[in-house]
Amino acid sequence: MGTEGAGVREVSLREVSSRGGEAGEGRYLYCVAEEGERRALGPIGIDGNQVYTIPAGRLCAVVHESPAAPYRSEDREVAEGWLRAHAGVVEAAWEVFGTVLPARFNTIVRGREGRGAAENVESWLRERQGALLDRIARLRGKAEYGVQIAWDAPGAAAQVIAQSPELRRLEEEMRSSSPGLAYLYRQKLERAIRAEMEARAEVRFRDFCDLIRARVADLRAEWRKPDGGGRQVLMSFSCLLRREEAAGLGEVLERIQEMEGFSVRFTGPWPPYSFVAPG
């Protein structure tokens, strides 16, 4: 998976200066962790930067010193390297500190009005200490898993027609009409099929939500309407649960995978990126 951390990479002067800002003015935030001491994690950060903690109270921010400018690149390899490095640091912190609140890519704290970036990180940790500790307590011992469910639309459309006398009748009319009229019948038929498929997808979505929710501590669910074209991912779930309970979730997903027309992708365990804010 490549989350063992990007290797050290020489940063070209052009890239540094093109990002703007002076060196050291910002603190790139990887995550918040339950750790109250200053710790060094080594040169595992983006562009080989030294990663270390800024503690405050019972928490710390895992950071590297960066220019006060976001990481931007049109080079896919460069961008992918940065993202993998970010993932790698969050994973390392997860292993070392136990529970982490992952930050989004390119979260860079800056200095402002006479206060440096490090100071701002520290005061932010103190001000939010209670809420952050609450969140950490909720996530302790758990990991995030991703579930995506795809639906084979053509197969479903055929089923929908076969099971509806009304739609079969419409199809008959279409076949036995003149070309102009047949076109209109086709429009009507396709609209009717799409509406029926949306309705069925919605029912399935609720069913799967219930099945999955019963096996997880927390759930974020997203869906989209079937667009009528081929195989399509309809549902995306982020699941929070203990690793030991992933097998139970896997059983439910296996049953869904075995259903006609559905296929499931199950990924993880990930640090809990999707559960850092109250749902």
Partner: protein, 84 residues
């Protein structure tokens, strides 16, 4: 069914999370980006393409599991049908 962290699909799942999930700090202490970061659009589109190629064996890095859904570009509706 076992969860996986291998393959293009898993990579997209991870990078998706890093790009759009995670802690967001108060605007006054962070460097903010106007609009969607260029890296997000290009990379996701490129990775969606890579996943397709993986499944068809074109990249020679092994097949993704059969039946695994292809990663999709964003366009999700978090609203959708009301959840109990």
């Amino acid at each position: 069914m076992e969860p996986t962290r291998e393959g293009g699909g898993a990579l997209v799942d991870l990078l998706d999370r890093i790009l759009v999930r995670g802690i967001v700090l108060d605007a006054d202490i962070i460097i903010s980006l106007a609009g969607v970061p260029l890296v997000a659009l290009n990379l996701r589109a490129a990775l969606a393409g890579a996943e397709t190629m993986l499944r068809r064996g074109a990249l020679g890095r092994g097949e993704a599991p059969r039946g695994a859904p292809e990663p999709e570009p964003r366009g999700w509706s978090p609203a959708g049908p009301a959840l109990r």
